[in-house]
Symmetry: C2
Subunit: 332 residues, 2 copies
Amino acid sequence: MEYLDSYAGRTVLITGGLGFIGSNLARRLVELGAHVTVIDSLIPDYGGNLFNVDGYADRLRINIADVRDPYSMRALVKGQEILFNLAGQVSHLDSMHDPFTDLEINTRSQLSILEACRHENPSIKVVYAGTRQQYGKPRYLPLDEEHIQAPTDVNGVNKLAGEWYHIVYHNAYGLRTTSLRLTNTYGPRQLVKHNRQGFIGWFIRLAIEGKTIQLYGDGGQLRDLTYVDDVVDAFLRVGVNDSVNGAVFNLGGAAPISLLDLARQIVEIAGQGDVELIPWPEARKKIDIGDVYSSYARIQAALGWQPTTPLADGLHQMLTYYARFLDNYVTP
Amino acid sequence: MEYLDSYAGRTVLITGGLGFIGSNLARRLVELGAHVTVIDSLIPDYGGNLFNVDGYADRLRINIADVRDPYSMRALVKGQEILFNLAGQVSHLDSMHDPFTDLEINTRSQLSILEACRHENPSIKVVYAGTRQQYGKPRYLPLDEEHIQAPTDVNGVNKLAGEWYHIVYHNAYGLRTTSLRLTNTYGPRQLVKHNRQGFIGWFIRLAIEGKTIQLYGDGGQLRDLTYVDDVVDAFLRVGVNDSVNGAVFNLGGAAPISLLDLARQIVEIAGQGDVELIPWPEARKKIDIGDVYSSYARIQAALGWQPTTPLADGLHQMLTYYARFLDNYVTP
């Protein structure tokens, strides 16, 4: 694939580069011959983990820094050809408990990263990680990019603003930016330490520990999942393509699946664990959005991307990884 | 009208209460018998002006404070029944030159106001002033509330986030919030000191000073205008109505008019001034959004609101006001 050949010798910066998607992207880029710098603040509970680049640490540059620090960011964007901008606070629940921290990381920092690029390195290409959460409760399914953005929590509002700064900086200043709106990404190196960053990592951990996966209501809510290698592939396609500057794309998953079916499949592949249905807690019900899955038609038309990893294969990879390395991801 | 009778004896807080819309609202509320507190920081160039409450200053409470100060806001929301939340940085151009100040005022402050309400006064009713700018360049016309939000400048992004915090705090915490998305509001007490807060105030000032109104291109871009008394009426309807909590409404104007026709009408009513067409400056063209006007069908259906002031009458009122009081609005 031509786009994969384009990364040899390129300078690439990844914010959140020790986190789940960032580290998978960093490892792939190292394999493709890129000069990779990862930025991460390793805030406990956020997902950054030095083990995520185990075996690669001598082939990339690790720079511990916080994207909230505008001076570090100004220095770090200099001389970089591509910025994969993945740093973020991703817990919906944490955003309600501490909305200001979420604002600082997901919104204000994005503005200062873009200002750093505009002033220090205006020719840099920036690929931002948005989220399907920006849409809120679906008016119709699957969600496409023209769906109204009506987020249901502070995290969704802040991510929405963070994304739109990128688009505004393209339209007003010609900065080469693109946003990919992620759905439920899953795979190795995902946070499994707690259950506040989405359900998949937590389901996997419970299964591996032989515990019970609890689902609210009838577990019938539909979700789409995208395996991390597919997500990485989308970032790689966009990072060297100027035809999609200023655009936003959903990285929708393949066929939607109910949480109940997903949990059962995880338990089956793991060969242990259990599934139980429990009533909705009031606080969760209030910010739940029912069925939600998104269309990848736009990015398929523009760049030929589509999810290719079958769910069973992806879950198997992920379960195998954590069966072996769980100790590196949970506090003993 | 029943809703107008509801304000007698009510405690009402208005952020941005010495500004254009806030002061017109404050004066009306005083006339309706409400106990009004206005908050304003009187930041030069923002629109707050003590003269805006001339003749009313002894019948309302003026509290000079900045909405960026969370401690003041916590104290000020206590004991208030209704908050008209109008404080904001409203210049699109300023938001591009100083995006962080715009973020602090239009986004972070909104979060701290809502946190103040949630913790100190959870039964307060909050009416927020959003903007049709949140929609960006129209995909279709007139803009309705289901139109995608794709702002074209930092101010639009930040106002969008500020609005959605209000909706999230309704959905998650039951806070009684509503947002009114303003289009081009015009009338007495509008800022006419500089041209960075929209075109109408500036056109009026140029006409009164016998100068030339310059329009970009052919001046054919369509806009809708709403007279400030109509906007005040909408805020009053919403402030005592719980059926619209969690909702957003456009305050669209009556028939759209081209900038050229508007400028000519202003010059004609003023009996002086002139109109000239000039080429687009590049920086302005980049953030221009072409024709834009919005539908008020949703608020008309919900609350019976519609713009009632004919444009010629509104312009006449405004021109008469500034012919008399211009010295109170411009630096000599």
